[in-house]
């Protein structure tokens, strides 16, 4: 048995040693080149968590500020959508199968977890294929898979639907809430929100979509972006690259995650997405409706659209929780600026989705950010 936390880089001790070395070098390099205050946004919720867990903030120069973006599929799910799938699971008595991430997010009538405690048949799955298996094995039940996530996750849903078509599975459908990232980034940059100098771009979304969809960030908005992996040296490398680009006044998009991201992305996955989905409008918490940012089922797959099958009406709901989740998702304010943060809204008793989500900005901030107030920066 080996000790310590395992990750890709730990496959052998040599690699681990090398990666630790580079992490240290990156930290030093950043201290050398950091000149002026810059504001970076990590788009992806998994990056928010990775940054928090890795303790990177405690070794960053003080002038580098991080804000978190709308890359948390749970957080950006609109109240109207939450209420709609809650209705499906509650009143309509379908068997709702969902990724664990969505269980605790609250709508007007509570959360899926609460509904489950009241007896609704709600199941947590790790993959869309598990939902398919339920449908095959329980023909008397209507299995509805909650399709949440961005381009990394949507192909899994597409695969499930294609399989259901091929098998003629009558009792399987998807409540589709999939969204795409680049248009959300555009809306963010074009909006009158916060001034961002650089973006840490989502590593695994990029595995699917490649580099080119991000070109506009530099070309149209003069903002630099770096596609980054999730290990601390990978994240640090992206920060150093961004700092350099920003200081040089030369905006560009860099791919620092070439080991996983091809310039053109995963063409098979893109093809599958294109076959099953077409762009549609989607409502993002905080950003409002962003035309074309949603993935809707194409006509040939419409019968697997749970909203149509069960005639679920999406009612305009905007809950006033008193929380600032919307502004936080745009990076305009920090979680600690929200009046409810840490008092009425904590991970144990979350009010808004940003605190509920395992990778929500507020949750990450609450869990990991106290360290930012540490008296001395970590000596390395």
């Amino acid at each position: 048995m080996r000790y310590g936390r395992k990750s890709f880089v730990d496959r052998d001790d040599d690699k681990k040693y090398v990666h630790k070395k580079y992490f240290r070098l990156m930290v030093e390099r950043l201290r050398e080149i950091s000149k002026r205050p810059i504001k970076l946004m990590e788009v992806c919720g998994t990056h928010t968590m990775a940054i928090g867990k890795s303790g990177i903030r405690t070794v960053l120069p003080a002038e580098i500020e991080f804000v978190s973006g709308p890359g948390c599929p749970v957080c950006v799910t609109a109240d109207s959508d939450i209420d709609a799938f809650m209705e499906l699971a509650g009143e309509r008595r379908v068997t709702l199968v969902t990724y664990g991430d969505m269980m605790r997010v609250p709508g007007s009538a509570g959360s899926l977890a609460e509904l489950k405690a009241e007896g609704a048949d709600i199941r947590v799955a790790y993959s869309s294929l598990e939902a398919l298996a339920f449908a095959r094995g329980e023909p008397q039940k209507e299995i509805v898979f909650l399709g949440v996530g961005f381009e990394t996750t949507a192909p899994a849903t597409a695969h499930a639907v294609k399989s259901a078509v091929a098998e003629g599975l009558p009792n399987f459908s998807v409540y589709n809430l999939h969204k795409t990232v680049p248009l959300a980034i555009r809306a963010l940059l074009a909006g009158d929100g916060v001034q961002i100098d650089g973006l840490i771009l989502p590593g695994h979304v990029s595995v699917i979509i490649g580099e080119t969809p991000y070109a506009f960030i530099a070309a149209e908005f003069g903002v630099s972006g770096a596609i980054a992996g999730f290990e601390p040296p990978e994240i640090m490398a992206a920060i150093v690259r961004l700092a350099g680009d920003i200081n040089a006044g030369k905006p560009r998009i860099s791919n620092i995650y070439t080991k996983a991201v091809e310039p053109e992305g995963n063409l098979v996955a893109q093809g599958m997405l294109d076959e099953v989905f077409a762009p549609g409008d989607a409502e993002w918490r905080g950003l409002g409706v962003i035309p074309g940012s949603g993935l809707e089922f194409r006509e040939g797959f419409a019968s697997f659209d749970a909203a149509k099958r069960f005639s679920i009406e999406r009612r305009e709901v905007r809950l006033d929780r008193g929380c600032s989740c919307g502004e936080i998702l745009k990076g305009m304010i920090k979680p600690s600026d929200c009046p409810l943060f840490g008092s009425r809204c904590t991970p144990e008793r979350p009010v808004g989705p940003c605190m509920v989500s395992s990778e929500g900005t507020c949750a990450a901030y609450y869990l990991y950010n106290d360290m930012a107030n540490v008296d001395q920066p970590t000596q390395m």
Binding site: K6, F8, K15, V18, Y22, L25, M26, R29, I33, C44, G45, T46, G71, C72, P73, Y99, Y126, S127, S128, L129, E130, G149, F150, T152, T153, P155, A156, H159, P202, G203, H204, V205, V207, I208, G229, F230, P233, E234, A237, V240, R241, G244, S254, I256, Y257, T258, K259, A260, V261, E262, N266, V268, A269, M272, E359
Partner: protein, 75 residues
């Protein structure tokens, strides 16, 4: 939004796009529909039950080269 883990393919059935991965002793069935190049022994990134990319040792080495570039302030 993108928790993905590298895993080694220890069994594969290309016709059904199904594979078994080994993540340090945990065997799990996943789909390799998105990675037609994946084969027995390949390392893949797995997200929500799907392999989303094949990761090779050469590419992993390429990371180090990029880091070197970044440290030198080049590239």
């Amino acid at each position: 939004m993108c928790l993905a883990v590298p895993a080694k393919i220890v069994a594969i059935d290309k016709d059904s796009f199904s594979a078994e991965i080994d993540v340090m002793g945990n065997i799990r069935t996943i789909s390799v529909m998105l990675t037609p190049d994946a084969d027995l022994g390949s390392w893949v990134l797995v997200h929500a039950g799907q392999a989303i990319n094949v990761v090779s040792d050469e590419e992993a080495q390429a990371s180090i080269e990029i880091w070197e570039e970044i440290l030198r302030g080049q590239g």
